[in-house]
């Protein structure tokens, strides 16, 4: 799988993502600089990693959505390319309107760095095929602005068309969007990740790339990456 990681000034989880990708592909992903205007040839996957692009002093991801590289990313998306956006990467994808909705300040107005449990809402996508539908997996989260929101109509559309990728739940899979223990940032419908209409773009707030090695506490995040490899290179 040929993957590229896009680095904006202030991106800080590009190394974590590179480690995760390398662990499943055996090769280092290409690093693409925000001022570049083209992506490498023959890419299977573009990843927008976590961090604080341009300091996130405007809305999170708002500046990055207008970076020079974004034109090439839009083009990649338009041609049906696969894109994963994690944390700040998810925020950038919503600001770039490649994914619907927006990420507000966490409901408790504090940065949250803790493990959370995610429920896999469908497993017929390149991002989720190595889980079963309804599987619950543990993953670290680390963000100040992960409270997913969209207009009621958009939420309904996402739900009706199966575009919710992951939800925050209890370890046993129980869903209660009103419980701050289970839905820590207050996201609507406890949505932790969403898909694009063609299911080829996925944005999510938590960090599966930080849980791909038993030494770091587990491999719960690894199926996302092994699944992508299988889906994209067979």
């Amino acid at each position: 799988m040929k993957a590229a990681i896009v680095v904006f000034p202030g991106t800080n989880r590009e190394r974590d993502m590179a480690i995760a990708l390398r662990s499943v592909t055996g090769q280092a992903p290409a690093m693409v600089w925000h001022r570049d205007t083209a992506l490498p040839e023959g890419l299977d996957l573009v990843v927008l990693p976590g961090g604080f692009s341009y300091g996130d002093y405007l809305r999170c991801g708002a500046m990055a959505a207008h970076a020079p590289i974004m034109a090439a990313i839009r083009e990649f998306a338009a041609k049906g390319g696969h894109i994963l956006g994690v944390c700040n990467g998810f925020q950038i994808l919503t600001e770039a309107q490649l994914l619907p909705g927006a990420l507000l300040r966490n409901a408790a107005l504090r940065f949250l760095s803790q493990d959370c449990f995610l429920r896999v809402e469908r497993n017929d996508t390149p991002f989720t095929r190595h889980w079963a539908k309804g599987d619950v997996y543990r993953t670290p989260m680390a963000h100040g602005d992960g409270n997913y929101i969209a207009e009621a109509e958009t939420i309904r559309m996402l739900e009706d068309t199966g575009r919710v990728a992951f939800r925050y739940v209890a370890e046993n899979g129980r869903l209660d969007a009103g419980d701050p223990q289970l839905n820590p940032n207050g996201s609507m419908n406890a949505i932790a990740g969403v898909f694009s209409e063609n299911l080829r773009i996925c944005g999510m707030m938590p960090h599966p790339e930080d849980l791909v090695d038993p030494l770091m506490g587990g491999e719960d995040g690894k199926p996302l990456f092994t699944g992508l490899v299988e889906a994209l290179v067979g």
């Binding site: 000034p9 202030g10 800080n12 989880r13 190394r15 974590d16 480690i19 995760a20 976590g50 961090g51 604080f52 341009y54 300091g55 996130d56 002093y57 408790a108 504090r110 940065f111 949250l112 760095s113 803790q114 670290p140 680390a142 100040g144 960090h207 790339e209 930080d210 090695d213 030494l215 770091m216 506490g217």
Partner: protein, 736 residues
């Protein structure tokens, strides 16, 4: 010389700038004339307590600073030790106490930023942050504001720069009411053949300014940090610097990119006293002169004077001496990262620092006497007040009730509310997160090496007996590293004390250093970097001033050749739970005494450094050979609190047996005897045999299993109840 002096320079002005009459006299004799306003400013910050260490230097020299694995000890921006594979760990801890009272968010944030720069300026990529925080009485309304701001500030800066915050400690005590302590530690990793130092060299070489622009923030911050607070402390807000972690992140990446070339001759960050201290120290260490033209300094505000630019403490700035033929290569790197880059001067052979601005010479000072004739004081000392002897003890509550109160008290309650606001996983190398082991474990990327990191100090012991307290802080750091299986290598110290002009405070300082030195020598655990923060005093409205508890915070670093061998403190299922080290039941200065009887009496527990080393070496060996599955040192709250912490962090409960110790239950379970570890092993009897051979006291406590903690009385406290009590304090204090 400039004719536009803002004010007449005289002794009165010198005094306002924090210099004594005698120090001003020395300035006059060095200069052979009345200094300019800017020159006086430079002298005053370079000779401030904060920059000159004038009250502490004579004593700091007594600390051991060498070992075969020490590459650079004190004197550089941070300490450097060999961690194997041709790699070095570079680390230091530094205080930002005064600013954090005045403006908690920015004070703490810029504390993190400053210590990060001390580490990456030497060529290391920062891999971990820790912080040691001391706050006032939780019931003091100010405390909540300060905790909130400090925690947000530490997180706001560290999370954005992408360096995981992996550990630290927090205490509460009324002595910190008007003077919290914010001690921030950064650890970085560099190749041993790519370590960058600050001594300038090469007459004619260009002097480069990179990073943020200079503004009027933080002017005289170093002087402010060298005096006591008065009732107008909060009016000093303009002296607090403002941080920009985004620029720091860019600065880290740009500097590391430049450091991969051979362009740099010397580099130093602009920390306390900003451009003044970096220019003076770099040129002074290199034995050269330096000529700066401030017209070229990137400026954020209009109309800044030479004095303001030289004393500004604007953040995220570095000073670099480059090889002359590499200037354009370096400029291209900083352009890429969109950071200011300016040639602001060059090195000379005059031995002077010359400051030019708008065509005039604003300052010209000989560097050698500025450094060599900096004041050194051996201030008078007096013995501190001894603690009250302990009254005979009557336990009013019993073991179970006492345990519940202890694990919920401010000093022992769960810190999860705090560390859950710090990104502890960014970088993907965090093997043990906060609370999972006695020291945080961070893997060195692309190797099997693990770093074990901790900060430690027990201020209440230090107040009762500063010498013992100083030794205990070092020993506890060594013990916490040992309890993970790592080999302790070296420490950084952050010495927080009251006013050195109070003889009893100075006495505490001298005693604490003596104790630290003893422990560092006995444990082969040298001091490689550090920072002193004095004048931590609060003046009450009635004019009296109260000193903080003596707080010599120790940041310890250890190494594991194979990080997979590290153990945590979580209780595993189905093992024998054993106590190693001697138990005498010493309750003096214990948390139990304070929380249950409301007393702060007695001598702190004894510390036998030979036993410390013997017990620790024994434990470490058995961790590395796989005998010990989990390990936790016995510290605040004693054996029962330690076992409970293992249960709360682990997969299994524990059934405790009656100790048959012949001592009162509260003494056995809550005494704070030192040099002890609780370990979980498959075969407790075999461990006891090995321990006997090694001369290490060993006794069985019980067996792990079940779901909660079962006391010798037969009573079981469920894990859910333990966790509920343990995690109540911070949310109740902060989220109400």
């Amino acid at each position: 010389m400039s004719a536009k002096l803002p004010r007449t320079v005289d002794e009165a002005l010198a005094r306002e700038f924090g210099l004594t009459a005698e120090e001003y006299g020395n300035v006059l004799s060095i200069m052979g004339r009345t200094p300019t306003f800017t020159e006086l400013g430079i002298f005053s910050v370079m000779w401030s307590e904060h920059c000159s260490y004038k009250s502490s230097r004579a004593y700091l020299k007594t600390l051991p600073t060498t070992a075969p694995w020490v590459i650079h000890g004190p004197g550089e921006n941070a300490g450097v030790v060999d961690i194997g594979n041709g790699l070095a760990a570079i680390f230091k801890m530094e205080s930002h106490n005064h600013p954090s009272f005045i403006e908690p968010y920015q004070g703490a944030a810029t504390g993190v930023g400053g210590i990060l720069r001390d580490v990456f300026t030497m060529g290391a990529r920062p891999v971990a942050n820790l912080n040691a925080l001391r706050f006032g009485n939780p019931n003091n309304p100010q405390t909540r504001r300060i905790v909130d701001g400090v925690v947000r500030g530490v997180g706001g800066y560290g999370n954005c720069v992408g360096v995981p915050t992996v550990g630290g400690e927090i205490n509460f005590h009324p002595a910190y009411d008007g003077n919290p302590l914010v001690n921030a530690m950064t650890v970085g990793v560099a190749r041993q053949d790519r370590i960058f130092l600050s001594a300038a060299a090469g007459v004619g070489n260009p002097v480069i300014y990179v990073g943020s622009k200079t503004g009027r923030d933080g002017i005289h911050g170093a002087t402010m940090s060298s005096s006591e607070f008065d009732e107008d402390a909060l009016a000093k807000r303009p002296t607090v610097q403002v941080g920009d972690p985004f620029v720091e992140k860019l600065l880290i990446e740009a500097c590391l990119e430049l450091m991969a070339t051979d362009a740099i001759v010397a580099i130093q960050d602009m920390g306390a006293a900003g451009l003044t201290s970096s220019a003076v120290e770099m040129a002074g260490k290199g034995g050269v002169g330096i000529d700066l033209d401030l017209d070229h300094v990137p400026q954020r505000e209009r109309g800044m004077t030479a004095y303001e630019m030289m004393l500004s403490e604007s953040q995220e700035r570095m000073l670099i001496v480059l090889r002359p033929d590499r200037t354009e290569q370096a400029r291209a790197i900083f352009d890429k990262w969109e950071l200011d880059f300016a040639v602001i001067g060059h090195l000379t052979d005059t031995g002077n620092i010359v400051i030019r601005h708008k065509g005039e010479v604003e300052a010209e000072i000989p560097l050698a006497p500025l450094a060599d004739q900096a004041p050194v004081y051996r201030r008078p000392t007096a013995p501190a007040q001894k603690p009250q002897p302990m009254e005979p003890i009557i336990d009013p509550v019993g073991v179970e009730q006492a345990l519940i109160r202890l694990i919920g008290c401010p000093d022992l309650a769960s810190r999860a509310w705090v560390y859950n606001q710090y990104d502890s996983t960014v970088g993907g190398q965090t093997v043990r997160r906060p609370g999972a082991a006695d020291a945080a474990i961070v893997k060195v990327e692309d190797t099997e090496i693990g770093l074990a990191l901790t900060t430690d100090c027990t201020p209440r012991y230090c107040r009762a007996n500063a010498r013992l307290g100083g030794a205990q802080a070092v020993a506890e750091a060594w013990r916490n590293i040992t309890a993970t299986g790592a080999r302790p290598l070296a420490v950084t110290d952050n010495l927080n004390f009251g006013s050195p002009e109070k003889p009893e405070v100075m006495g505490q300082f001298v005693d604490a250093i003596a104790g630290m030195g003893e422990a560092c020598r006995a444990l082969d655990f040298p001091v490689v970097s550090g920072n002193v923060s004095l004048y931590n005093e609060t003046r009450a409205p009635d004019g009296t001033s109260q000193s903080i508890l003596p707080t010599p915070a120790i940041g310890g670093l250890g190494v594991l050749e194979n990080v997979r061998q590290a153990v945590g403190l979580g209780m595993p299922d189905g093992l024998d739970v054993m106590l190693l080290g001697e138990t005498k039941g010493q309750l003096g200065q214990s948390i139990w005494l304070r929380e249950i009887l409301g007393a702060q009496d007695g001598e702190p527990p004894e510390l036998d450094l030979a036993a410390e080393r013997r017990n620790g070496d024994f434990v470490r060996g058995l961790i590395l050979d796989g005998t010990i599955a989990a390990c936790h040192d016995v510290a605040d709250g004693g054996v029962l609190v330690a076992v409970t912490e293992m249960v709360m962090a682990g997969q299994a409960g524990c059934v405790l047996e009656a100790p048959q110790s012949g001592m009162r239950p509260e003494a056995f379970w809550f005494g704070e005897d030192q040099s002890r570890y609780i370990v979980a092993v498959r075969d407790g009897q075999a461990l006891a045999t090995l321990a006997a051979q090694a001369g290490v006291p060993c006794r069985r406590l019980g067996r792990s299993g079940g779901e909660g903690l079962t006391l010798p009385s037969g009573s079981t406290i469920s894990k859910a109840r333990l966790l509920a009590v343990h995690s109540e304090f911070f949310p109740r204090l902060m989220d109400r």
